[in-house]
């Protein structure tokens, strides 16, 4: 039998790899083809973050998120992309973590996911505003927030599907 530490390491590494594959896939079939808004995306890798947060634990979820962002930026992003993702990802995590005690009684995976998506948009725009030195990037915020509702519902629904397939108690 594997001891639980080894098991945890293997599981977290697998989830990180899955999150990376999802962000790579999203780069190929991005939402940006439909909507030319900087930063608009489906946010598929949030499936992994939310899954880990709810069905494993918060430290694992945070670890997977940060590893995914660092490795992902080494693969495809630049320094600026790294900062946008890190700020957005961190904001999304904080909000979902703060709301997670309400699960499953008052909020479902859908609500958590929408909140995370919206927080990601806001954090990303805030980072872009600091980096570009102008508040005018906030002009994109209304659209990004609007888009984060359907996209959050999609990714939240996918977490639900994944959880059912892996026979987690919902």
């Amino acid at each position: 039998m594997l001891d639980s530490k080894t098991k945890m390491l293997a599981r977290n590494a697998t989830l990180t790899a899955m999150a990376l594959a999802l962000s790579a896939a999203e780069r190929l079939f991005g939402l940006q083809l439909l909507m030319p808004i900087p930063g608009a995306k489906v946010g598929l890798s949030n499936i992994v973050t939310l899954y880990a947060l709810i069905f494993i634990d918060a430290p694992s979820a945070l670890l997977i998120l940060i590893s995914r962002i660092i490795i992902g930026s080494l693969f495809f992003g630049g320094a600026a992309g790294f900062l946008y993702s890190l700020t957005g990802g961190f904001c999304a995590f904080i909000i979902m973590f703060a709301l997670s005690p309400l699960y499953p009684k008052r909020v479902s995976l859908l609500g958590l996911s929408v909140a995370g998506a919206a927080a990601h948009s806001a954090g990303q725009i805030a980072a872009a505003s600091v980096l570009s030195g102008t508040a005018y990037v906030f002009a994109y915020l209304p659209l990004l927030l609007l888009v984060s509702v359907p996209m959050g519902l999609i990714t939240g629904g996918l977490v639900f599907v994944v959880a059912r397939r892996t026979s987690k108690k919902l």
Binding site: A80, V107, G111, V114, A122, S132, P142, L143, L145, S148
Partner: protein, 119 residues
């Protein structure tokens, strides 16, 4: 899978925030000038009444065109080209951004214009 009360509350809050974030950008129009910034530093002030082509040569190469009083990113060799596909700056979109190049085009509302008169 059904939406719970909390979910609907979250969605409502996000939509309200989107609406609130939109407010500062309503009703700004009649721009006759635009400014082009790189990293928050003013590079050019552009007269929109004059058709012209400007080039910004930084990490990437942006070609900015002014035509018929409107301004847009005409060409760019940045990886995502979101700036080019964003189209023209307008009332609803008073700023255009090329994030990879960190270049921002911002419309300036003409001097002395009154935003709102109450009374």
């Amino acid at each position: 899978m059904k939406l719970k009360m909390g979910d609907m509350l979250i969605i409502a809050i996000v939509l309200l925030c989107a609406l609130a974030a939109l407010l500062p950008f309503l009703g700004s129009s009649g721009a006759t000038k635009a400014e082009i910034y790189k990293d928050g530093k003013l590079l050019y002030t552009v007269d929109l009444k004059k058709d012209q082509i400007l080039e910004v040569e930084e990490k990437y190469h942006n070609v900015i065109e002014v035509k018929n009083g409107k301004i847009h990113f005409k060409e760019s060799n940045c990886p995502d080209k979101v700036c080019v596909r964003s189209g023209y700056a307008s009332k609803g979109r008073p700023a255009l951004v090329c994030l990879p190049n960190r270049v921002v085009i911002k419309l300036l509302v003409s001097d002395g214009e009154v935003d709102l008169i109450v009374g």
